[in-house]
Every structure is written in C-alpha cells, then in structure tokens.
C-alpha cells in the first residue's frame, strides 16, 4: 500500500511539475514574443513533449491561457492580502489595495491584457467550464478582501453607517476605475498626446477624490498624499519598487 501510494504520488508530482513547466514556457513565450507567436506546436517543441501530451494537460489553447490568468490572479491576491494587513487606518488599507493593483500592473503590464483577452466571449467560450470555475473562485476571493476593508471602515466609524448598503457599490467604483484606467493605459490610445498625465498618478488622485466624496476619514486634504503613496508602495512591493523606478 505504501509502495502504491508513493508511486502514485510520484507520478502526480511529475504531472504537476510538467504542468508548471508548460505554463512557465508559455508565459515566457507570451512575454517575449506576444500572443500570436504562442502556438501549441511551439510550446510542445520548447518543452520537448509532443502536442498530444500538452493536450492531456489543457483542453485547448484558451484553457492554457486561462490557467496563466489564474496564476496572475493568485499573485494579485497576495498583494491584496499584504494591503489588507497594512498597518494603518482603514482608508490607508483600502488605498493600499488600489495602489497594489496599479503597481502590480505596472510591473507586469501583460498580465492584465491576457486577463482581458480571456474576458472576450470569442475566447471565453473555448475555455473548459472547470477552468472558468477556478477563475471565478479566485475572483470572488479577491473581491472579498476589498469588501472586508470597507466593512471594517464602517464598523470603526471611519465611514458613515449610512453607507452600509453601499459597500459593494464603493468597491465596484474603485474596481471599475482602476480596471478601466489600466486598460486604457495599455491600449495604445496616446493618452499623453491627449494631454493626460501618467495613469498611476491620475488614478491615485481620482480614487482619493472618490473616497473623499464618501467622506471616508481621514480625508485626503488632511494627509500628505504623496508621502502616503510612497509608504504604501514600499510596504507592498519593497524591492520591486526600485526596479520600477529605474524603468520609469
């Protein structure tokens, strides 16, 4: 029995490792050569397994891309959890979520694009239900973190009790604002030519204005916004932030 168990688990480990290898390879390919370059044949060649074997792991190319997206969301969840545990007021913690979201996508600009590719119905309809379900679960988890902070804010009085019924609206407001802004940022619309400042700055200003609109204490004009941004950034990303600065 123990022999059976170990062989089984060794096989399973091998399967998992190979799956990781395939995903790593696909992601590298994606980052270096773009979506169109990534084909099942090329992945197969790169990992030195046949195409059939790849298809034993993933039902379709779209299924594989969906798995990559799940990884991205897991990374984001880590960032959100750091933000949740940030040592500060509820407003600071909630701001940390937004900043984490912005900066994550600044550091990994392609991830959001891939997620958005997957939102497209034409692509989505080719993903297996199983994978879609996995992704949905992750999305629920990440939403919960945001909702919890808003609830905390109401419980401790930073946000007026009358907003209890608006919790989800507030989360949705910030979410949509960030999501939209970051997508616009990478869509080759020449924002700069249209007179727009760098997106991360605008986002920071806009979400402060938005939260001020809800009177979420402490208001932004009683705070050194710039300093706060710096503090939260380095708390969330530590070293990576230097990389970002060097790039910009």
């Amino acid at each position: 029995m123990s022999v059976l168990a170990t062989t089984l688990s060794r096989k399973q480990r091998e399967l998992i490792n190979r799956e990781e290898l395939i995903l790593d390879t696909a992601q590298t390919m994606l980052n270096e050569h773009g979506y169109n370059y990534v084909t099942m044949d090329r992945i197969a060649e790169a990992v030195e397994y046949s195409k059939g074997t790849i298809y034993n792991h993933f039902a379709s190319k779209e299924d594989l891309v969906c798995s990559l997206c799940c990884r991205f969301i897991k990374n984001l969840i880590d960032v959100f959890e750091k933000a949740y545990n940030y040592d500060g007021s509820t407003r600071e913690r909630y701001s940390a979520i937004g900043i984490g979201y912005s900066l994550y996508h600044q550091l990994h600009p392609l991830d959001l694009q891939n997620i958005q590719t997957l939102k497209n119905n034409a692509v989505r309809e080719k993903v297996s239900d199983e994978k879609l379900c996995e992704m949905e679960t992750l999305e629920q988890k990440i939403t919960k973190i945001s909702l919890n902070i808003v609830q905390d804010a109401i419980d401790c009085g930073d946000l007026d009790k009358k907003h209890q019924e608006n919790i989800s609206t507030i989360v949705f407001g910030c979410w949509s604002m960030h999501y939209g802004a970051l997508l616009l940022d990478q869509s080759d619309i020449p924002l700069h030519a249209l007179g727009f400042s760098p997106v991360v700055n605008m986002l920071w200003k806009n979400s402060n204005t938005y939260l001020d609109g809800y009177q979420w204490q402490p208001l932004s004009d009683s705070t050194d916004s710039k300093l706060l941004f710096e503090q939260i950034s380095s708390a969330l990303f530590g070293n990576e932030i230097n990389t970002l600065k060097r790039t910009a």
Copy 2:
C-alpha cells in the same frame, strides 16, 4: 470631361455602397452568431462577392472589424454631441455624457466588446496603420467634447478655478470608471452573485460621488438624482429608452 467625372463618381458610389453592404453584413453576423462565426468566406458568400473583392476593401479581417468599431465610435460621438447640447447646468451636461455612454452600451452591448477586442495587441497588430489612424482621430474627437464641458464648468464657476490643471484628470476619471464598469459588466463575472447591483445604477451613483468630490456645483444631494437621470435619458435617447425598459 463631365462624362468622365460622372462615371468616376458612379463607380466611387458603387464602391462605397458595397463597402457599407459588407460592413452591414458583418455586423449582423457578429450580432447574431458571435465573433468566431464571422469569417471572410462567410461574409463573401453572404454579400455574393468573392473573397478577393472583400480584400479589395479591407486589408484583413481585423481591418474590417476596426471599421465596424469606427462606426460605433461615430454613433457615440452623436450621443456625446447631444449631451453637450443638453439644456442644463454644466454638471447636468457632463452627467449626460456619462449617462449617454452607459445607455448606449446597454442598448448595444456587443459594440464595446468589439472595441475591446481591437485594443488587444494580438489583434491590433494586424490592423492597417490607416485604419488605426482613423480610429485615433475619432477617439480624439470624442475626448474633446468631454474636455470642453469641464472647461465650460470652470469658466462659469460651477467648478473651482483651482481645477484648471486637473481637467484631463477629471475626464480620465469618469472615462475610466465608465469604461471599466461596462467591461466588467459584460465579462461574465457574476457581479450579481457577488452582491453588486445593476451596473448602470452603480455608475450613476459613483460618478455623482466622484463629481461631488470635486465640488462640481450643484452637488448631488441638492438634486433629485433619480429624476435627473430620467430626464437626461429621454432627452438623449427618446424612443430607444422604451425598448430598453421593455428588455429589462
């Protein structure tokens, strides 16, 4: 000379008509059967011209889809211009832009999806520079309308002069909020299951909160928001609004 001129213009008219025919056909196909069903062969068969002829009009499938997107944006420009000329305060006129944007996409949910498809690099890189340029021009035009209203607000004192330097940030804030919200709405994320109310309602509330944050007069708590929404809706869309209500 006059003979030459008329034959040339007749030919040109024929070309333009055929181009419209192709676009109409593609759009119908898209709405009825989805992106994957739309192929160049099927379009050719439906319009009763050969594939080669289709390629005389459009450099690629993506080029054709880009032309469809340009049409969508033109429609949106019409809506925005109606909003610009809405008879009311600057805040009402600016709100009208947001409402117009929301409702247009409520009436034509697929249009935004197609535009977003095109923002994807993998697709975008196959569109001819010429078409991309055409779309960019339209996007600039639509942005200008929004910017102008904010400028009007500052000029007439509804918005404090200190925000002169933030005009583009304000426009970007509303734009990203709406863009993100509407995309999230159609991305099959089960927003309702997550406890979110219908997106158009949330958007209306959120953009009011956002504009209140900038102290754009008159503030929303001195207004009957619900009534205002109704008024603007029917001013912009008239009859179409009934269709919408019947659907919902």
